[in-house]
Structures are given as C-alpha cells and as structure tokens.
Amino acid sequence: MEGIQSTPPRGALSRKKAPSVTQRWVSRAILATLAIIAGGVFVAQSRFDPGQWQAQSHESAPPANAPTAEAPTEVPGLRPMGPPETYDAATLSDKIDGKAELYLAAGFERLECQRFALADNPASWLERFVYTMNAPAGAFAVYSQQRRPQAQPLTLAADAYQAANGLFLVQGVHYLEVIGSEASETLQARMIDLARTFIQAHPVAQSAADERALFPKEGLAADSIALTSANAFGFERLDRIFTADYAADGHRAMAFLSRRASAQEAADLAGAYADYLLTYGGQRVQAPEGAPPVTVIAILDQYEIVFQRGDLLAGVHEANDLAYGLALATKLYANPGATP
C-alpha cells in the first residue's frame, strides 16, 4: 500500500545526531568524577561508625546559644582568654556535670561563662559564671545551697560572700560565681571589680520581702537561711522550702517556711508531709496544752513539727529536744506573715 512504510529505512535507529568529540570528553570527565565520588562514598561508609559520629557530633557541637554578652567583657586589668560560652538547660551538664540538677530544679535558664587572665600576669586567671534563673528565688536557692560556711560576707549585694579563691553573689535573677586559679589578693581585687561591674550592668529594683523575713531572729544561726527548690527533707512534694538553723543551750533545730498558692494547698501539704513521716516509722506525739495547732511526730530520736497557718506551710525539722522544737514552732506560728 502506497503511503505506508512497513519497514524502517537503514539507519533509522541511528538518526540521532552523534556526540561531538568535546561532548564525549565532557561525558567521560563527568563519569570519572562520579566514579571518584562513588569511590569516596564507598571508602567513607566502610569506615562509618555511629559511635564515632555520635561522639564527634556532640563534642564539636557549638554552645547551645550564641553569646549574648550577658555580662560585660571589658573589665579593667583583665584580658579575656576567649569568647564567652553559653549553655542552656539541655547543655548545662556539659559544663558542670552532675551539679546541673541543682540548677535545673531551681529554674535554670542559661549560663554564660568566660575566663579572664590578669593583664599583667597571664598565668593568673579567673572564670566568671553568670547563671540566669527564671526568678530571684531560684538564684537565691542555688546560692544558698552552696554557701561556704567559712566565707566572708560582702556588702556588694544583699547576698554575697568571698572565699579565698572565689566570689559568689545573687543579683536579681542572676547567680554570679567568680572563681580564681589561685588564692591571691590581686585576683580577689579583680574579682570584686568584676562583680561590681556586673552589678552596675544589671540593676535590680527593690525586691519584695519573701519568707526569709518571717524567721524569728532569736537563736538564728548566721547565714543559715537557705532555699530548697525541690524534694526537701526527702519528700518529693516539698518544693520551694525556706529553711533556717537554730541553736541554743545545746539544743538545735531547723525551722522551715513555704508560702503556698492557697491556704488549702498549705493545709494539704502539711497533712501529706505528716503522713509521709508516719509512713517511714514516725510516731505521733501529743502537743502540750496551750501549744498552737501543730502536728508533732517523733522519728529517729528527733522531732518533726508541721503546721499550716493561712497560706504558709511551716514547721520544725530534726529538733533534738521537744520543748525547744515546740518553742521555735510557737514563734513561727505567732509570726504575722501569713495571708489567710
């Protein structure tokens, strides 16, 4: 039939234009490059080890957040040894290992630290740690939990002290540590300069009085007021508990106070703590007539006293004498700080 071609003409399959010499060489070059890449991938994958990769990715990871100049880096007489390092809640343990839990429980938000050497003696250096918490109470908690008993109080801030090789203070939501490489007067002077510069850069308004003002003054051990953020006295429901040590005439006890969200919450927590003590072998002791409405429990040759007044949970922990513990509890109860 005319017009219909039943057999393709010779060479119809090769009608495409043949590649030029240049195209051939370019193609060969591309294929060679691909072969090299494939070879590289093969060699790399044959050495791949998830363990190494994991370690490398961790160790080479940049700090959690870019430095934000939380604290001034220009300090007279000091020369930065490197840029500031910053850590967040996920990376804090990369800097302070197991102590991170103390900060995390107290509302930690970020840490910025930086080392400085003395400008005229680079072998002497110090490191500044600025912990930023979510509230001033958190800063006081980590400060008070680590307070060194023999340290010298400083007037730089309401809560500040200096040890032989370090300086520690609370400024608003910040807990500042400055730790020196040696115990020297020169370094101590620079630490104070550093702290003063930091305080000036971070002014705080007059803070509202908290439970610390409610502890009776008589018999109170100096610098003993502390704030436990969580799991106080081993009871996981006791959080944000202020404590203070008392001693007199061979007797000793610890008073505690915590303002709760409501009177009902304070009452519930007081009951739960008493139940906890009874569960672990405590025995109820009848409070003497005329004593305030408190629960007294004897446990491990000591006395625990707990009560609620208004929105305050309060009590006495580990009193070695019942009368002394009750007297302290009575003073706490008489304190007018509770909000009904």
């Binding site: 119809a12 800097k95 197991g98 520690f168």
Partner: protein, 326 residues
C-alpha cells in the same frame, strides 16, 4: 572543532555489539552487588560485645589488695601506698604500655580538687617508667573542652614532665561498645583506642562529693571513658557507675584523698569545699577502694548505692577491710 562523524548503520552486527555491551554491563553491576552483599547481615549487639570484649587489665595471679596511707604530700603518699602493695614492679613489667586514666573533667586549677592532681600524675608516670614501662599514656574524655581541661588542670604539663603522652579524646578514638549483660552501656561510644594500645590500666582519681551520685571516686572516674550524650545516664547514675565497675578491670587504682572535696561536687569552686583528709588509698579492687574512700566524705557504703550494686555484679567487694594489707 572536529567534524561530526556519521552514525553507524543499524545492521545486525551493530545490534549484536550493543547487546553484548548491555549484557556485560548488567553482569558487571550484578557482580558488584554480589561483592557488596553481606550474607550474614548486622550482628546482634551481644555478639559484637562477645566478639571484641575489653581485656581484663588486672594481674591474674594477684589477690585483691588495698593499702591506706596518710600524709600531706601526694608523692610520698603514692610511694608509701605502692610500697605497701609490693611496689610498682608488681603491677608493671618491663616493656608494658600503661594507660593512666585521670579525672580531667573540668578546666579548673589543680588547687580546687576537681581533677586528678598533677603531682599524682607525674609521680605515678615516673614510677611506671622506673618499673620498666615502655610507654605511658594519659587520657580522659572531660566534661569541658579537652585541651583546656588538660592544660588548666596542670595534667598535661605533669604528664609531659614525666615523659608520658596525653591522648586527647578525638572522635576517631571512640568505638561503639556494648557491655556484656549491660543495661545502659549498649552500643555506646567508648574511648577505646587508648585502651587498645596498652597492657595495663591505672585509674587516678580525686575524692569528691557528687550532687547526683553522692561521690565521685575510683569507679566514677571510668565515666570519662564514655562519649556521646552521656549526661542522660545521670538519671540512673548508680546503675551506670555499677556498670562502669564491670566495664573496666584495672591493674590498679589510686584514690587521692590528700584533699577531699566534701561539698558542692563535682565542680566545687572554692577552697572551702576541700578538707585536708590526708589519705591516699591504692588497691586492685576499685569497689573496695571506693568503699574505703566513702569515709573521707563522711559517708558510708549505704550512702552510695552504686557500691553494693557493683558488688552484686561481681565487680568487687565493699568489705575493704578484708583486703587491707598489714
């Protein structure tokens, strides 16, 4: 540019030629796939661990023993403790390659007691060489930047002064490892390469309070052989320390309580955190050494649950008194 050559005619020869090439290509690819084929597939972790376990670095013919000495000078304490145990030559033989696993966790000055004191490092390294060691390596995988930690803690200089070599924990030195019957150390990065290079392992650790575990001593020191996001183990801190006790069977451990960090550990930060306990404990049973060291922190074995856990795993005994040399 060269002229384009005309396409070849599509005849029978052309067709067979193309068919042959295509067949050879297919065969080549098939052969390549065959060569890459892993007939066994990935092995279970237990099999990997069993096939390549860490060696036992302890000296098999020696009974577990422990020496406690007192004094304010670290070098003298080390010498006295080793003398009580029979001398370094009982542990190190001529030609041995020795790894000193230090605690260089923090970039902190030596006086804070947060890291192994450089005097201990240099003294022990010298004793190893005197006993005939061919090579002494010093390593740790610190919490902070490794180079800063080794430098600022004084450990690098101490090692160098004694002729020892510091091995930094570079990524290539880690291998995944599963502790046989371990629950936490499974397919976890381990600083294995330095361990492969030595015949003996000596642990050198300070005595420290630890916010999570209660204490950081000889057993906790092995934590510095782990890589990866090891902070997740803080949630099961006692279990991981007990497993570490099973992981490393050292030749010797030396626990330096000349100054002990009795509070605010493991970082400390103040000289007020230290107490001059003037004690050094050396022994071949790290569990017993830590049990003895607990008293330096005013703690008992009951305050440190990982000690009894390690004992139950067969890593040693908490009855350190039974191992004391007279």
């Amino acid at each position: 540019m060269k002229a384009i050559s005309p396409p070849p005619p599509a005849d029978r020869r052309w067709f067979l030629n193309r068919l042959l090439r295509a067949g050879l290509g297919t065969l080549g690819i098939g052969a390549l796939g065959w060569a890459f084929w892993d007939r066994r597939g990935p092995r279970p972790e237990e099999e990997i661990a069993a096939g390549d376990p860490l060696p036992d670095y302890s000296i098999p013919d020696q009974a577990k023993r422990l020496a406690v000495v007192h004094g304010a000078e670290r070098g003298a304490n080390v010498t006295a403790a080793l003398a009580a145990l029979g001398g370094m030559q009982r542990f190190i033989r001529a030609g041995d390659r020795v790894l000193l696993k230090v605690n260089a966790a923090f970039a902190a000055p030596p006086m804070l007691g947060a890291t192994t004191h450089p005097d201990i490092v240099s003294h022990v390294a010298r004793l190893c060489f005197q006993a005939g060691a061919r090579q002494v390596l010093v390593t740790d995988n610190p919490i902070n930047d490794p180079a800063s930690c080794f430098a600022l803690s004084g450990i690098a200089a101490a090692a160098q002064s004694a002729g020892a070599q510091v091995i930094l924990p570079e990524a290539r030195r880690f291998e995944n490892y599963s502790l046989p019957h371990g629950r936490l150390i499974r397919h976890w990065p381990l600083l294995r390469e330095p361990l492969r290079r030595v015949d003996k392992v000596i642990g050198l650790s300070p005595v420290k309070d630890h916010h999570r575990s209660g204490a950081s001593m000889a057993l906790k020191n092995w934590y510095g052989l782990l890589g990866g996001r090891r902070n997740i183990f803080h949630q099961e801190i006692h279990t991981i320390i007990a497993e570490l006790a099973l992981l490393i069977r050292p030749t010797l451990v030396i626990l330096d309580g000349t100054q002990s960090m009795i509070r605010n550990g493991p970082t400390g930060g103040s000289l007020d955190d230290l107490k001059p306990t003037q004690t050094l404990i050396a022994g071949t049973d790290p569990v017993a050494v830590d049990a003895a060291g607990a008293a330096l922190l005013d703690k008992t074995v009951d305050d440190l649950p990982h000690l009894r856990m390690a004992e139950r795993l067969g890593a040693g005994t908490v009855d350190y008194r039974s191992l004391l040399v007279k």
